[in-house]
Amino acid sequence: MAQQSGMVEKRGAGLWLTHAFMILGVLVIFFPIWLAFVASTVTQPEIVQPPMPLWPGDQFIENYTAALFSGVNVPVATMLFNSLVMAVGIAVGKIIISLLSAFAIVYFRFPFRSTFFWMIFLTLMLPVEVRIVPTFEVVAGFGMLNSYSGLIFPLIASATATFLFRQFFLTIPDELAEAARVDGARPMRFFIDIVVPMSRTNIAALFVILFIYGWNQYLWPLLITTDPEMNTIVMGIKQMFPSGDDVAEWPVIMATSILAMIPPVIVVVSMQRLFVRGLVDSEK
């Protein structure tokens, strides 16, 4: 990333100062995660007698085993699985329907084309949070409460992904479509053999963003999964806090918090380049 001009970059003491500030910034930003990790490796008495230690203890295996296989209301392993299904379902579903609709909008002229286009565009403006009660009623009406389809479908229509693919398809040279037509290839052959393979970087970048979007959903699963067996991990953590005066089981809750952030963190850090690209693209 950095360029090798070197004239205006800091050297000597200034350079060390810059590094020092940077490290300080990283430490401050990391502190909440570090503390959660420490809390997930110590015993309950060590936490309820403040101040808690700032260095990990030896209860790592015990706490994580307790969280994964018994949890508080439901084993965390179950919630992890539900989150995985929801996140992958939303990401894959959005990508598929957006690829198809963008292909239709770019490569065909058909009745109501611009009506549909504007219809999709308008969904940009309607976050779930502002229409929760009626959407909840629709999903309840379909009998989709406590189901994966209820978790996935209402969040699947995305104008962003459709626009992104539309933008990209418009940059595919016309010669390719022309050649395909001359060769007598049907539109779907062209779509599968040319368009989809050419979009694979966009698809991957979008997958990273959408996976995190799906994984981190909170309000929607909170409303429609009343059965603990269907809880996702992000909304399930809050359910682990006792109501009333009971003391929360902090080590297990904190182990669950760490488990809840591992999959999205792995996705973001390991696919950093795609992630940054996806971010920039999807906000344009």
Partner: protein
């Protein structure tokens, strides 16, 4: 922009676009329509019938001091979240931009919080400031400051702001860093040769050049504070104490699902629809500008 080469037929494209249109219709347009429709009625306590009240729900809301308080709370909250997430991000990005080596490592580490869900971030910050076991609240106590966000509205607001801004620092950092890297080095070097020191260069050259990015982030962060911080507020304060952290989106939820006041909740949804519409228009106006820039 349109393609010159297109395929013939209209059955296939309709079939291709059908899934998205169907899902949008069922889960977006119908519920939005319902929200508008329900906002014109007051249901009876048993939900069996509803009385048409026209714009009565809206009139009531605009006169309601709790609703007006939620508006004010939302404004304060969004401004604070935006400032607290953009200023540190810009500072860190400026530092990272000055480094020839190692900025990649810092970037990797700073990305982490972005992946943490707002609701999980809420739990992490709640843990640090918990009145019984929190480490930071304990040390504050040692310094003689009695932290209690459960009773003190100002402290509750501070906590939800910091917890909401935390993950956004990563996001803003990435955009600021990319913007800073794209500022032409030759311009900065020319200024350096003319004797402008670092801060002078920053305020007269770099900052104006990254203004488009800053403005874009401003809008995006306000949208975030409005609509995506529900998880933070629900986990940390549940809107309390005395509604001091009840933002508009939280009130739609609290009135609709907890209070079962469907008419009012729908009317609030409709008002929020206008707010979202306005923010989207601002966003697009700006993006148009950026394209022509």
């Amino acid at each position: 922009m349109e393609k010159r080469v297109t395929f013939r037929g209209w059955m296939l494209p309709l079939l291709l676009i059908a899934p998205q249109v169907l899902i949008s219709a069922v889960f977006f347009f119908y519920p939005a329509g319902q929200a508008i429709w329900q906002s014109l009625f007051i249901p009876d306590p048993f939900g069996l019938s509803a009385r048409f009240v026209g714009l009565g729900n809206f009139e009531f809301l605009l006169g309601d001091k709790f609703y007006r308080a939620a508006f004010l709370t939302t404004a304060v909250f969004s401004i604070l979240v935006t400032v607290c997430s953009m200023v540190p991000a810009l500072f860190l990005a400026v530092l990272a931009d000055r480094l020839i080596k190692g900025s990649g490592v810092y970037r990797t580490m700073l990305i982490w919080p972005y992946a943490v869900a707002p609701a999980v971030a809420g739990v992490l910050w709640l843990f640090m400031f918990n009145t019984r076991v929190g480490v930071i609240s304990w040390y504050l106590g040692q310094l003689g400051y009695d932290w209690n966000h459960v009773l003190n509205g100002g402290e509750a607001m501070g906590l939800v702001v910091v917890a909401s801004a935390w993950g956004r620092i990563s996001y803003n950092f990435l955009f600021f860093f990319a913007a800073l890297q794209s500022v032409p080095r030759s311009v900065i070097e020319a200024a350096a040769i003319d004797g402008a020191h670092f801060w002078r260069r920053f305020f007269t050259i770099v900052l104006p050049l990254i203004t488009p990015t800053a403005f874009f982030l401003l809008v995006v962060n306000v949208v975030y504070a409005f609509f995506e911080t529900f998880g933070v507020i629900h986990t940390i304060t549940a809107g309390g104490p005395q509604q001091s952290t009840t933002i508009l989106v939280y009130k739609v939820f609290a009135d609709g699902f907890v209070g079962q006041d469907l008419g009012s909740s729908s009317a609030q949804s409709v008002i929020l629809l206008f707010v979202v519409g306005l923010l989207t228009v601002i966003q697009f106006k700006y993006i148009e500008k950026r394209v022509h820039y």
